[in-house]
Symmetry: D2
Subunit: 406 residues, 4 copies
């Protein structure tokens, strides 16, 4: 028996996302048969002590204090980018041009311009067999993957309504500290890009359509926050007598949207007459909804059925099937069956999965694509489309909510 092929990974960044990615690389081959076996070869971070501690903790074989060094190394096949959005473009482009596959956390970048450059480089790299993927990990939540499958099977008919909410509350306290996520120069935007981007990607992916225009309202409830506070997890508290600095991102993002329609043959349509109209959508993202901890919710209403999901009950998917009796209620599918996406590789029916499984499944899909030499999904082009929606939302909000084409 020959030695299995290896995929030697170099990860940049080791905070919250780094922990999740490390777990995914380590766990994926234990539950899934993969064409190549990932190895946790090196992790990079600027702080020497920090990166060494992270390597020990998360099981990486070596460390670098400069991500450029990671790209130079011959023993690295893939660069996994887990840093804030303002650094994505430089790292990803350098990695792809050096022939490394790339997994880049979302949002792809902090601007459409950066995202377009990255996409162009990624498409050129793909022609040389160098592959790239953006980390919209929620696609790999089994319930959302099942939703995608059911829409593709036509169980909903033509979709009329998209209803997306992403509600958290960890910034509700006005004394929570000013972190990088509240600094536009690092994070690009606030709730919009941090969590709203997940809703946008999921909605476009599951409907198989793209958002063509939006009308938006952005709001910053707390204009200043304490600097230098103790930052624990996503939350923490800075103390009310700490000096304050300005919050430069949105606290909440609200928008309505239209999606592209499609032709009778199912192909996406523009504004052509004769095509089925696309869905209309309504989106909300906030980190000020007290009591909602991670309520990433998505509901779709079609001509034949409806689907509803809430990440706070992530192992289930609600389905209304109008093909049943007129009184068919929503049925709560517990998404842990062998027939469901991903779940057959885990535990018996009814034994739920958690948040990190999305990352493990993301690695599985990425490694399978690399093994097959095929484009992983979501591509940088898919992520660029999300970026364009984010930009349109900001443009509309800055122009009296006037309709903004994407």
């Amino acid at each position: 028996m020959s030695e299995p092929k290896r995929l030697r990974v170099g990860m940049v960044g080791y905070a919250f996302m780094g922990a999740a990615h490390s777990h995914a690389w380590r766990t994926a081959p234990r539950f899934f048969d993969l064409p190549v076996v990932p190895e946790l070869t090196a992790v990079a971070g600027r702080n020497p002590d920090g990166v060494r501690a992270a390597a020990t903790k998360y099981g990486w074989d070596s460390v670098e204090t400069d991500w450029r060094r990671l790209i130079e190394r011959d023993d690295i096949d893939l660069i996994d980018i887990c840093t804030p959005g303002n650094t994505h473009a430089e790292i990803a482009i350098a990695a792809l041009e050096a022939g490394k596959h790339v997994l880049c956390e979302k949002p792809l970048a902090n601007s459409v311009e950066e995202a377009e450059k990255m996409t162009a480089v990624a498409q050129a790299a793909a022609e040389r067999g160098v592959l790239s993927m953006c980390g919209f990990s929620y696609r790999r939540t089994p319930a959302l993957a099942l939703a995608k499958r059911m829409v593709e099977e036509g169980r909903l008919g033509d979709i009329r309504h998209v209803r997306a909410q992403y509600l958290q509350d960890w910034l509700s306290d006005a004394d929570a500290p000013l972190t990088w996520r509240l600094d536009k120069s690092k994070s690009g935007s606030g709730s919009l890009g941090d969590i709203g981007a997940h809703s946008i990607d999921a909605a476009q992916w599951i409907t198989g359509s793209t958002i063509t225009g939006v009308s938006a309202l952005l709001e910053t409830f707390v204009k200043e926050r304490p600097v230098g506070g103790d930052f624990v997890g996503l939350g923490g508290r800075g103390g009310s007598d700490a000096p304050k600095g300005p919050v430069t991102v949105d606290d909440a993002a609200l928008f309505t949207a239209r999606f592209a329609g499609k032709h009778d043959d199912g192909a996406a349509a523009g504004t052509d007459s004769g095509a089925v109209a696309g869905p209309i959508g309504i989106f909300e993202a906030t980190r000020f909804a007290l009591g909602r901890k991670n309520a990433m919710r998505l509901e779709l209403n079609g001509t034949k059925g409806s689907l509803a999901f809430d990440f706070e009950d992530m192992n289930s998917l609600q389905f209304y099937d109008s093909a049943l009796e007129p009184d068919a209620g929503f049925r709560k599918i517990i998404v842990t069956e062998p027939s469901h996406p991903y779940t057959g590789n885990w535990w018996p029916t009814g034994h739920g999965l958690g948040y990190e499984h999305g990352f493990t499944h993301q690695v599985v899909d990425l490694v399978n694509a690399i093994g097959a030499g095929e484009q992983p999904s979501p591509s940088f082009a898919d992520a660029l489309q999300v970026q364009k929606v984010l930009a349109a939302v900001e443009a509309s909000a800055g122009n009296a909510s006037r309709w903004q084409n994407v």
Copy 2:
């Protein structure tokens, strides 16, 4: 013991709303101590056979085939208007000018102009002791009345988010017939005025604030429907080979909103600096959300707590109180305690109420106000404010979703 004072009611219209109002007039004095006792004196309708059958069925003492005759009668103290919106202004104004109290179904009218005239007449009548009320009966759902009380008590702190959905599905079938509710000349608007108006009124009433501006998107999914079909309840089906006529109202209404802020003393504010900013809101009304039967949902997030309601589980109210431990979850208050609004007059705790109780409570509040010689709530002025929001929504939707002040 002297004879109790009587309130002799004349009702115009006897369809769905007429049945609900009849039940309310009949039932209110059986469960509540009222200062005056309602009597079901006369019902008016154009069809002689129909109105006679309705009188027998619902227990009215006499009939009229012209509502004008009802207003002329000396033995009528109050006119209860249960007809489509295009008739409200004429009937209500005539009644008030004839010295009859008025209960008028919502929406108050089909245009701001009509509503303004009605409000002016109502305010003049009030000075003569002739009172009027608009039938936003959802205010009398115990759970929403409890929400109002809790907001007034400061349990939510300053409200940041209003999240309102009113989802039904009875028009989802493209072959459902073209009824008066789909004819703009009769109904004024579609989902927007029929069900969205309830959300707007409830949101303004419970927050104690008013909507100051909106950005909106309206959509008509099914442009034509069969005429002359069999109309059963709200739904029915016309048959796909029936001749078709145009749907002239919205099937779905989506909008974002801003509410007025308030001064430190709690008084409502305009755009003054120094005042606490008002909430932002997001609204959706549709009759195309397959599987949602009467999901009138309202969620409020404040600086101290959150509330969530869904009419499909109408006997409960979800409350998140951040004054509890950090891990306080939403608690599901079963709104049937003796201490809750209205419920002490009904059954023991845990024995839920139904849809029609809102109408009975509406009668209770109206009769109590009349007995006390005080303005009932909601006044025509309150309903006019809702009408202005509806108009602003339509204006924005017709102007590329551009922000529209109310």
Copy 3:
């Protein structure tokens, strides 16, 4: 048009149940087409002031201070018994022998002996066209009536499990006063007969089978309670320094059960070989489950599907249909469709009903049976079977939980 036939009702007792029954008699003809029209002719109670006030409040035309007088009156067709269980036998037997139809609140009596006598009298009366019914009103909750229909249609296949809980909490406070419901001489038993009887009746009715044996555990958590306390609704509080008296009934009743099987042709079976075995059941009734206000829950698991109900969400029924995909989740049927039992006579889909509708539907079914000259359901014989189960539970609990045949 001839005068409609009338059913002149005389009601005995006017507390909680009296209020519910009055509403039902008054409301039934307003929403349902009935073959005879009920009239609220007279109400009887020992306290002259109390009964007069009740008559005015609930709309009865006359009063009596002795129930015997009610039975003597020629202008009464039906006696409605709303008094405590220890008085049922005497009143019901006298009424039936006097040729009056009878509606008797549950439990039918406080002992099997009484119930047997009542049943014998009722069966003799039925041969003379004098009809009787026991008020297990929960059968008329639309969701439970739908459950019955679905079981009859074979949607569940052969039932294996019955899982019944009736959980309340209004006696949880050890200072709640000693009322007649805690006095065995008046109430017969505690949680067992008060609420457990509803579970037993519903389980037997819906499965179409009868309980053949039980093993039981009864418990009285609070042995003494204050006497003479203020009794408000079901709860109230006596004050901790009031003199105390003994609680002579069970606070909680727990039992397992076996149901009769059936033959291949669907007929009920005894212990014959060849027949399909009957379900096994587990029952719990308590008024000490803090936070559960009126959680009358019933779940059935069959070979083809499952049903689950909770009165705290009384307008819905959960259904699992194994004929769907293997991943069919429970679907929450909102039981307000025109096709559902009773609901087509009320409001549009999604507009829920309340507790008292069960009593209105009970009147509808009773009046329809009287109009047709047919035996209403549940008969006294049905109620006697429930009484036998209650007795078997007490016998087993008094005999070290040993199995007790019914």
Copy 4:
């Protein structure tokens, strides 16, 4: 920096439980700071190919085809027993006597006699510093660990009711094959020991009390099943024409129970007067509840509050606190806060965990206990108590449900 101490693990068995345990040993040190670092040293199984494949798949360094060899090896510190119950006693006793720590899957054994021997050996070994634990992993579900903490804090007051259900449906199909779990000689019992044992352990652990007596009913719905069928996961299907063999275990177990009371100082009591009475309990375990996939439910009602849990929504715990307003509803605590048991080491609030986390937490607690030289919990003595309850249930069921002291 010195080399961290190691805990070299040898695992026996590598099926469903083996996969879960492997993941736990591998993952625990990545998210928790442990005093000693587990190593996946060797896995044992009789089938040479199977065990080699499992070692590769799950990451074990070496293999053995005889568990005795594992115990003989010097480089193994702990034996992890993941085999069927009939083998536990022999392996565990041999391991403990050889000075290896032991983690033994539940149920501890297939009889009280075996469990008593194991407990005696374990207690003797503990005096030599050799530690043992039984794998009731559900204790490590964060929501149940939080329930335990809340009970200990007195949030529920004195507990009156224990209500436990463990509902699955994977045997509902009469053609599901005859596996070792249906063979009494291997599994000891059916639903009772497989899943009911979890309910018993959780109930005793969380209440801090022990079951003193039971009355039980056992049932086998499907008496024969196809042999040699294809066994996939827990379910599978044998085909209706396969030869059949007898099912020798219970399909469903129902029982009522009494728990030990306690003295005023909180110490557990027997039947002494003066002590607070213990809770009464009702238990059900079945694998025939169609639609219930892994509904391990536990509800406790005390004098001050109530708790409710359902593993199908495993990241939440329902709490009713009577110290709040009288209308305090159950609040749904999302058990993902930093302050909750275990969860602070994982993801941000609202990002749920899955089934396997219980096993990881079990390893964490075991390794911490070993590091501290303290008895891990649950001990073999704790597991023996569960075994005694299982035996009492079987004894009562075999004796007409007569009360059986434990």
